[in-house]
Structures are given as C-alpha cells and as structure tokens.
C-alpha cells in the first residue's frame, strides 16, 4: 500500500474536482436501487443472490461495482435491465428507480421501449453480443429505427456519427463489415457505438475491458471517460479489476456475496477503505516484487444456497465481533460521500487497521 493515502495534495483534489466529483452529491440521482432482494430457485434449493442491494448513481457520474466472481455484480446489472426472467427468478422486494420511475413495476412491453433507448448495456464478450450474420450497419440501423422515427438514411447518418464518437473514424468501411472481420477492440467499440446511438443517458458496462489486451483496455478507459465528459453519459461499470475501477470511476461500490459492503468516492474506498473485505481485496493485488508479500483471504466465497447469517463476510473476517454472526450490519455513513456496512467499523477502535 502506497504511503500518503491521507495526505492528498490540494492539486489532486482540484484534479478530482475537474472530474466532476466536486459537489456531486448535489446532483440529481439518475438511478437509485433500494433494498433489492433477488433469489433463484434451483434444484438444490434457493440461491440468495441479492441480499438487499442499495446504491445510487448520479447524473454524469461513473460508478464502479467491484467484487469477485459470484458476488452478484452481473445479476445486479441484469436486474436493472429487466433481463432476468423466468420461473426460477424471484424478486423478493426493493425498488429500482430510474429517472424517478420504478423499473421493477414496469411491464415487459415498457421495458422493451426503455432498453436501448434509455438504458444501454455493453457486455464482456463483444463477439457474442453482435449478430454474426448481419453487417454492422444493418444491426445498428435496426436499433436506431426501433427507437426513433428516423428514415433509413437519417438512421445511417446517426450510426456513422456514433461510430466516429467511439473512435472508429473509417466508419464507412466498418459499417459494411461483418463482426468477424473486426478485432476484439473494434467490436467492443461497435457495441458501445450501438449503445450510444440513441443517446441513452445510462450505460451499463459489464466487464467491458476484460476480454481486451491492456493497451486496448487503456484506449477503452479513455473512451469511457470521454463519453462521460463530452456526451454526458452516466455509467455503471461492472468490473473485477480494481485498477479499472480506480482509473475509470468517480465512485466505487464493493460487493460481497450479494451485499454492498462499502460505497463512496473512488479515493475514499480504494485508498482509505474502511471495510475489512475492501482492504483484504486490495492486499491480494500483486504489487510487490515477490510472491511472499501477497496477502490472502482465509476461507472461500460462501455458498449462496446457505449464506452465512448476519454479515456475510464474518466467517472470513479478522475483525469479526459476536454480533457480526447474528445481525446484518446497516450502512453507516463514515464520510462526506462514504458509507460502510460493518459492525466493527461502527464499534470504532481498530477499524482503521489495515489488513
């Protein structure tokens, strides 16, 4: 862990302000999740996937949802999009307010209108989210025309423009190409262009750079930042990579086994994290020059068929108190824009101890 975590220089603060996080909490909230609970019925029993997820995303803000596989990041995203359907999905409660309206109360027909128009999503694997038998132009024009009353020619112009926004300048030749003719990075740009073609105010990106090489990833992160600054697109970024979260987002929410355990400004969470899980996750990152420096988290990710009672992290937590096993810790405000769900932090004392 780098020193100087507390001594953030004034220029940094100004830099961060330039990023729009200055007085961001005054801004309107675009998306609010309140106590969303979701289960899956499986043959082996009920999987308690989301255990009361609450967070909010403000306009023109990038919020990263970080956590390990199976913690519910993607389930959260798919629930917002209304893409989890079927007899095995049980939404047990909560609300998802998007521009003030509860998405969980909408009919499928209403959601179809919203998806692509107001809520856009980009998936991890750009290969499988594009249709291999249509040219880029055909699939993108279809999206635009489904949501607007534009003519074919006008829709084509919109598509060309959105492709140039995502950094595909030779969009003429790209439009006539089939997905397999493009590289992974170009395909992901096409997916983003498609998501933006209808000027959706919210972009949900599920591991958008995980399948890409680091140099291409750096290009994509730059693009996401530009979309926020120039096109004013709010983003919910789902990633397991703390580096991506740190570089791309204004705020970060950490998930563990279906719970949000910590949420706040990126600097607060990733540098001055309070939750034991956040800090343990950071300590696992290979930063030193030998493997001997690596910390690990004891135990494994819990089985969501029978999640631990109380705080779901307590069996692996070195700060666990008696009450952690019995009651779920409430979100506690510990800073200006920084909340933690942890009994040990609430009890004070050793919460600042680094893992």
């Amino acid at each position: 862990m780098k020193s100087g975590g507390d001594a953030v220089s004034p220029s940094r603060r100004i830099g961060a302000g330039g990023w729009g996080s200055g007085n961001s909490h005054d801004r309107e909230e675009l998306l609010v999740l309140h106590d969303v609970r979701l289960d899956f019925e499986s043959l082996r029993g009920t999987v308690y996937a989301l255990n009361g997820v609450s967070f909010s995303l403000r306009a023109r803000e990038v919020l990263s949802l970080v956590g390990e596989s199976g913690c519910g990041k993607s389930v959260t995203a798919l629930t917002i999009m209304g893409l989890l359907q079927g007899p095995q999905v049980r939404i047990r409660g909560g609300e998802i307010l998007f521009q003030g309206e509860d998405l969980l109360k909408k009919t499928e027909h209403e959601m179809v209108q919203l998806r692509g128009k107001s809520l856009a999503m980009v998936f991890q694997d750009p290969q499988s989210s594009l249709n291999p038998v249509f040219t880029i132009e055909k699939q993108m024009v279809a999206v635009v025309r489904a949501h607007t009353s534009l003519s074919k020619a006008a829709a084509r112009e919109t598509v060309e423009e959105s492709l140039s926004v995502v950094g595909l300048p030779a969009s003429r030749s790209i439009m006539t190409a089939y997905p397999h003719e493009l590289s992974g990075g170009m395909r992901q740009r096409v997916c983003m262009g498609m998501a933006l073609a209808c000027d959706a105010p919210l972009l949900i990106a599920d591991e958008p750079t995980t399948a890409l090489d680091v140099t291409i990833q750096a290009q994509m992160l730059r693009l996401l930042r530009r979309l926020r600054d120039e096109k004013r697109v709010s983003q919910l970024l789902i990633t397991h990579n703390m580096g991506v979260a740190a570089q791309a987002s204004d705020r970060v929410a950490v998930m563990y086994a279906g719970d949000i355990v910590e949420v706040g400004a990126a600097e607060d969470v990733l540098v001055r994290g309070r939750h034991p899980y956040t800090n343990a996750l950071r300590a696992c990152l290979p930063t030193g020059s030998t493997a001997a420096h690596l910390k690990t988290i004891p135990g494994g990710v819990p089985d969501l068929l029978a999640p631990p009672t109380g705080c779901r992290f307590h069996p692996r937590c070195h700060l666990a108190l008696d009450e952690c096993a019995t009651s779920k810790p409430p979100m506690l405000r510990v800073g200006n824009d920084h909340s933690v769900a942890c009994h040990a932090v609430a009890a004070g004392g050793q919460e600042m101890r680094r893992v």
Partner: protein, 329 residues
C-alpha cells in the same frame, strides 16, 4: 548461454501456413514466432509477457512439443529435441509439464482427482496401487488440497481448487521445468494470490524452473526472476525483472507498463495511450515491427530490421533508439 540451463531456445521460428484451398500450396505464412533466443536456468522463473497474438503461447507449445518449430533449436537439459534419438528425447520431454489457463477444461470431467494426479506417475513407471495412492496424497498435501477429496471429480471443485489439481498433476512426474500458461488469468484476485504463493513456494522447495506465460505485468513482477517482453513474434526486451519493469528501455515495454491501470485512483495516468492495434503476423511491418505504433519512430525504424543487443549486464533491447553505451544496472 549458461551450461546449467534447463531450457535453451536458439533462434526459434514457428510459421503457420495459411490454407489456400485444397490443392494449392500455401505461399503465405503467419509468422507467429520469428527468431526467439532465450534460456531458463535451473530453479529460475522466466516470464514471457506480451499481448494476445505476440507468440508467447506458441513458444510454450513449441517447448512442450505440441507445435513443431519451423527452424531453430530447442534444447531441454542439453538434449536437442529435433535431433536426439527418440528414447533420449522422451526422457528429457517427460520432465517438462504444463499448467493451462482454464482449469476446468484442462481436467477430464470423467476422472477422479486420484486418477488425474496418478496418471503421469502411472505412465512413467508401474507403481503398485498403495505406493501410488500415498504419492497422490502427498502431492495433494503439497498443493494444499484436502486429501478427503481424493475420489471427487473436477466439477465438484472451484476454479482455484481445480488449478491446484492441475499443479499437483504437473508435479506428479517430478518435472524440472513447468510451463505455466496464464495460470491465474481465470481466477479472482484473492484466489490468484494463493496460487502465486503456492507456485513460488514450490520453486523454493523443489528447485523447479518455470516458464511463466502471462499478459499480467503485476504477476510477472512478483513471480519472475527475468522477463522477456514479446511483440509480434519477437522478443523486444529482456532482462532481470526489476530492471526491465522499473526502467523499461523499449518504447513498447514503456507503453505496456503505462497501460496497466493503477488500483490507486489518486494516480490517474496522464501518459499517452498507445494508438492502433497489433498488426497481423501474416504481413508484419518492415523494419522494426513496432514502428507503426511507436511514438518515437525515426526513418531508420521503418526500413532497417533491428535485433536484440545487450545494453548492460543481462539486459537486451531490440530498438534502434536504445542507448549505445551500456547503461548502469
């Protein structure tokens, strides 16, 4: 080349012919690996780093004998794998094992953990059941798996546990060299940390050499003694890990390092992002292969080929612009 190197590659080239119809002979090749010279010493960890398509996995496959080299030589413990008699090659090759990226697909779903781990030992000798079982139990203990899991099958394990089984299998034939092809790329960070700790302990305890193939520079940094950075089939820079990663000399190494997002949001990189993408290995650029993307290219780069040359003790760079005089370590 030191005498005690367990693996020595001399000017290794692997070209893949492109199919041009059933009867026409191929005239085009993908130059996947184009002149790689490298060696791995006993107990040493060498990391090959680079982006997808740079040829790092092809090098690994050639070392394992899964891909036939077009030219150049591969020496395993002093045995030339192209020329030595069959028996000698078999003996040398048996001491080379591999751990693949995806633990789930590299283990047979129909075999129990015992059978998976026992198979290499079984094919080499003819041990009886009891001594085989005790050897398997010992290996599972080494990699930190519960010995009660002996009769389970891979689907009952998590990704990290499957990777431990794969490591136990690799250890079963007492290898001197293990090729690790992206061993932790499919794992979560907390699991990755444990696997890396295990691998590093194995090197210390058993003196096994590792050829670590990774795209993750942080993994290379904490594991490897030396790194070789590859770009489009060639090594562009190599040397001791700390020297290369803290003071990269080749513009591509510099860009690669700058592209890694820092987990510290107060360190937002303002460095220039490398434009463009890796060119096709079918028509590699003339001259220095990196020149179309290089921010510092000059005229010479586009028409004159560049070879690795030593700039200081153990450090080599393939760049026209690298300092002529040896730099301090």
């Amino acid at each position: 080349m030191s005498r005690d190197s367990v693996l020595a590659l001399q000017d290794l080239c692997v070209y893949f012919p492109l199919k041009r119809g059933a009867f026409r002979r191929s005239r085009q090749f993908a130059y996947a690996v184009d002149g790689v010279t490298e060696s791995v010493g006993r107990g040493e960890i060498l990391a090959l780093v680079g982006e997808s398509g740079c040829g790092k996995t092809t090098v690994a496959r050639a070392v394992l004998g899964l891909t036939k080299p077009t030219s150049g030589s591969i020496m395993l413990q002093g045995v030339d794998m192209a020329q030595a008699p069959h028996k000698v090659r078999q003996e040398a090759g048996a001491g080379v094992q591999v751990v693949f990226q995806d633990p789930a697909s590299s283990l047979s779903p129909r075999m129990t953990v015992h059978d998976i781990v026992a198979e290499p030992a079984r094919t080499r000798g003819r041990p009886d059941g009891e001594s085989l079982k005790s050897k398997v139990l010992e290996l599972l203990d080494t990699v930190g798996l519960d010995t009660q899991h002996l009769w389970r099958r891979p689907h009952e394990f998590s990704g990290g546990q499957c990777q431990r089984i794969a490591i136990a299998r690799a250890l079963a034939s007492d290898p001197y060299l293990v090729v690790l092809d992206e061993p932790t790329s499919a794992l979560d960070v907390s699991v990755q940390a444990r696997i890396l700790t295990l691998l590093s302990a194995l090197r210390d305890a058993r003196g096994i050499s590792f050829l670590l193939i990774t795209h993750d520079l942080a993994v290379a940094q904490c594991m490897a003694d030396r790194v070789a950075v590859m770009y489009l089939g060639r090594i562009v820079e190599k040397g001791p890990t700390h020297a290369v990663l803290s003071n990269p000399l080749h513009p591509y190494s510099v860009a690669l390092l700058a592209s890694v997002p820092s987990p510290d949001p107060t360190q937002r990189s303002g460095a220039a992002v490398l434009g463009g993408e890796v060119p096709s290995p079918v028509n590699p650029p003339t001259g220095c292969r990196f020149h179309p993307r290089c921010p510092q290219r000059t005229d010479i780069c586009s028409h004159t080929d560049v070879r690795l040359r030593e700039v200081s003790d153990g450090r080599s760079v393939a760049c026209h612009l690298a300092p002529e005089t040896p730099v301090g370590a």
